[in-house]
């Protein structure tokens, strides 16, 4: 019974850590320079 309880607690903690890792953080760093501009003129020929 104690073994089962410990296994369930371990699984719960692992799931909690996985959930935190899944939803926190970011997928990278934004560009440090540059920006968007409309395509026009020779770029659309």
């Amino acid at each position: 019974m104690a073994l089962l309880r410990r296994a369930l607690v371990a699984l719960g903690i692992a799931g909690l850590i996985a959930a935190v890792l899944r939803i926190r953080g970011s997928g990278g760093t934004p560009p440090q320079q540059g920006g968007w501009r409309e395509l026009s003129g020779p770029e659309l020929r």
């Binding site: 959930a19 899944r22 939803i23 953080g25 970011s26 997928g27 990278g28 760093t29 934004p30 560009p31 440090q32 320079q33 540059g34 920006g35 968007w36 501009r37 409309e38 395509l39 770029e43 659309l44 020929r45």
Partner: protein
């Protein structure tokens, strides 16, 4: 030109508005779906638009535009193709796209175009990929990302895609990855800006790989919030909005010019349903005019996308380029 439009959701309603503006379109018959939304689209469309009920009795049609629910496009397209009609589908469902691409041989034999994925993404993104590719001697990688949704059906598909299986093309083979994995920060045109994007069950690679023989990697990602990601495998907790806000797409193409490797990032910002409706309507007109090749393919198969992009500029759908370190 007589167009049969099947589906009267957000994209269908926008497509009707674009179609009736074209001089060569003499009649648009709206059919399928629920009676209420269909009546609204017909009432708001003007003199050229009529109600076709379930669409089974509509004769002498030049082209069929499919904007209805996912999962139905393949069978409907096959039936319409058997009648010799050009077909344009806006579906962004992988199974639909797979079924539609399988109609290629029959479409070529009949000499008509079956345009697959004629929306904002896929669709406009395919045009951007083709346009960006023209700057390279060889294309190595294409990475598509999108943010935002059109109508409620699009929002449900967004939710479903995040819990589905993503299909990436890598080193000459397909790789299946779980949706919601592969977080990457993508930089969309302002005001969307930076958004975390994830793998999802998206059909972009199915359309881009055949259009770019020899490409090494093709991936597609979907912008999602933490809540979207956490609840992706649950039923939708809230009813989707009638129409989403502003969305954006981004296409990153990596390739070679001579011996130099380079990256080009193109994108666009618009309400997804508006952009998808404009792309679908123009693709329908071009399919009937014979300006699109016979066969079933995405818009990336259009070897010169510039006239198509310029025609979209006239209706307010404009492409953008990212200058700087991507």
């Amino acid at each position: 030109m007589k167009v049969l439009l099947l589906g009267s959701g957000a994209v269908g309603a926008r497509a009707v508005r674009q179609l009736v503006e074209a001089d060569e379109v003499t009649e648009v018959v709206v059919a399928g779906g629920r009676d209420g939304p269909r009546s609204e689209v017909v009432a708001g469309g003007g003199a050229k638009v009529s109600d076709g009920g379930d669409g089974s009795d509509v004769a002498r049609v030049d082209a069929v535009l499919l904007t209805g629910p996912r999962g139905t496009h393949g069978a409907v397209a096959q039936a319409q193709l058997a009648l010799g009609r050009a077909v344009v589908s806006c579906s962004d469902d992988s199974d639909d796209v797979h079924d539609l691409l399988a109609l290629d041989a029959e479409a070529r034999e009949r000499g008509v175009a079956v345009v697959v994925g004629a929306g904002f993404s896929p669709g406009y993104t395919c045009l951007l990929a083709r346009h960006a590719a023209s700057r390279f001697d060889a294309v190595d990688e294409i990475h598509v990302a999108r943010s935002g949704t059109g109508g409620p059906a699009c929002a449900r598909q967004h939710h479903r895609a995040l819990s589905g299986t993503a299909l990436d093309w890598r080193d000459g083979g397909w790789q299946r990855r779980p949706g919601g994995s592969g977080r990457e920060l993508c930089w969309f045109p302002d005001p969307i800006g930076a958004a975390d994007c994830y793998r999802a069950a998206l059909p972009d690679a199915l359309l881009l790989v055949p259009a770019f023989p020899g490409v090494d990697r093709v991936t597609a990602r979907l912008a999602a919030s933490r809540r979207d990601r956490l609840t992706a495998r649950l039923p939708m907790l809230r009813k989707p909005h009638p129409e989403g806000l502003v969305g954006a797409v981004r296409v990153e193409v990596r390739g070679r010019v001579g011996t130099t490797q380079d990256v080009l990032v193109l994108g666009a910002l618009d309400r997804p349903a508006v952009a998808a409706g404009a792309v679908a309507a123009l693709a329908t007109r071009w399919a009937v005019d014979g300006r699109l090749p016979a066969g079933a393919a995405g818009l990336a198969s259009l070897m010169d996308p510039v006239p198509f992009l310029n025609a979209l500029v006239e209706v307010g759908i404009k492409a953008a380029i990212f200058d700087g370190a991507a």
